[in-house]
């Protein structure tokens, strides 16, 4: 149910998420640059990029493209708001999928070669991570008896102890979800992709800015999901959660730098293997015990 706390949390999410995500991705880019012996960009680079995009001229291919990208941004923000408002995890994940589908439709609507290949690969990418995301929601239900985030955080012990398999699986697909690997996927952050920018290739200016904004909101939601594995009724637990999220981010950057040229075929197989073994085994244990 909505109460004062959840309204404050939603407002804080809506206002702070783009800044928080900019700082997170700024730190990530600086750490990555240092690993490669470079200086790296400024801390708020993602924010400056976003501001620039909103001040540029937008050329759109057709009107439906605009509507679809706005819908993408709306659903991405909505799913985050439901999560931080203490809502239902299933609703969060289904509206997040909706958001992705709108972006894919936007790419298909422009009828351009690179956008189309990008959209196809994005669908394959969804195929790689969706099973694990749904399994994680089931895992939270099995270990706490509720899909509601507000109920889940009332647990006494950190849920990562009950669901380590889900945690490993979720961290694995997070690399895909946060667009680090595979490098040949549409919107991967690495330079020199074989399909230019694919999915967002035909968006420009303000419209492209909206899809970037949605990505920042999504990033905060995903990091919040990692935090959910560590949050308990203990008032100090948010501190542990932030430390855990930072550690996960670091390990992800590190892995991404070690394996910068993973292709989508390999990642799809790996994601399913990890989902099956880590997630599946954990689910079996939760059912039996």
């Amino acid at each position: 149910m909505m109460n004062v706390y959840s309204i404050i949390a939603i407002a804080a999410y809506l206002i702070c998420a783009p800044f928080a995500a900019s700082i997170f991705s700024g730190v990530d880019r600086i750490v990555t640059a240092r690993m490669q012996g470079r200086k790296g960009p400024g801390l708020m680079q993602a924010w400056w990029d976003l501001m620039k995009l909103f001040s540029k001229e937008s050329t759109t291919v057709n009107d439906i493209q605009k509507v679809l990208v706005v819908a993408h941004c709306f659903f991405a923000v909505f799913s985050g708001a439901v999560f931080f408002g203490g809502g239902d995890l299933l609703l969060v994940f289904f509206s997040l999928t909706m958001a992705e589908v709108f972006l894919i439709l936007a790419a298909y609507s422009v009828n351009a070669a690179y956008s189309e290949i990008g959209a196809q690969r994005e669908l394959l990418q969804m195929m790689a991570y969706e099973p694990m995301i749904l399994l994680t929601a089931v895992g939270f239900y099995m270990s706490t008896g509720s899909f509601g985030v507000a109920q889940i955080i009332k647990t006494d012990i950190p849920l990562v102890l009950k669901m380590p398999g889900f945690f490993i699986g979720f961290c694995f697909i997070l690399i895909v979800k946060l667009r680090k690997s595979p490098f040949d996927i549409a919107t991967s952050h690495h330079a020199h992709q074989e399909i230019i920018k694919g999915l967002t290739g035909d968006l420009s200016g303000r419209i492209y800015g909206l899809s970037e904004l949605a990505e920042l909101y999504e990033e905060v939601l995903m990091l919040g999901m990692i935090g959910l594995f560590f949050i308990t009724s203990d008032p100090l637990s948010p501190v542990y959660a932030i430390i855990a999220v930072s550690a996960v981010m670091f390990v992800m950057s590190f892995t991404d730098n070690i394996f910068p040229r993973v292709k989508w075929e390999v990642l799809l197989k790996l994601a399913w293997i990890v989902t099956f073994f880590a997630g599946g085994t954990n689910l079996l244990l939760l059912t039996l015990i």
């Binding site: 200086k39 960009p41 680079q45 540029k56 001229e57 967002t200 420009s204």
Partner: protein, 161 residues
């Protein structure tokens, strides 16, 4: 907010010997690291602010250069990198070479050199950033819009006549 905090560039190689292209790539390596200025090599005209053109213009690539330029959203700047992109360079008198980048699209900054040094290239980009900021301010104030390649062609024709 200044647009120069996040200049994304697009690199296109006309008909050059690839010397300048190697130097452009060198600018992104750890030694020079253009990412510290927020620069990203996008490879997509619709996301780019700076068009970095190396090599001369010939009969085959002139339409490509025009199309890339026209697809870039305003404000945008064009950098001619290396002497071939500036005026045709060593290939100037070849039967197939039309000239430098400015034979088909308006150029804002000329960076000479054969091959262009990464330091000169970065200097050129920094100079282009000031122009980019200026163009954005003019866009806001007086509704400035860059010439399309077609308008530029007509302007050159009347100037020649």
């Amino acid at each position: 907010m200044k647009i120069s905090r996040s200049p994304w560039l697009l690199h296109y190689d006309g008909s050059s010997c690839n010397g300048c292209d190697i130097e452009v790539l060198a600018a992104t390596t750890p030694r020079f690291d253009v990412e510290r200025f927020g620069i990203i090599n996008t490879g997509n005209p619709k996301h780019a602010d700076i068009f970095l053109c190396t090599g001369g213009i010939n009969a085959q690539n002139q339409d490509v250069v025009r199309q890339i330029y026209d697809q870039m959203p305003d404000p945008k700047v064009v950098l001619a990198c290396g002497i071939c992109a500036c005026d045709g360079g060593i290939f100037k008198d070849c039967y197939n070479i039309l000239g430098g980048t400015d034979t088909v699209i308006p150029v804002d900054v000329y960076v000479p050199g054969c091959a262009v040094r990464p330091e000169a290239l970065i200097d050129g980009v920094i100079k282009a950033l000031a122009i980019l900021d200026d163009k954005k301010a003019r866009m806001k104030k007086e509704g400035y819009r860059s010439l399309t390649s077609e308008e530029y062609r007509k302007k050159r024709e009347t100037a020649d006549a």
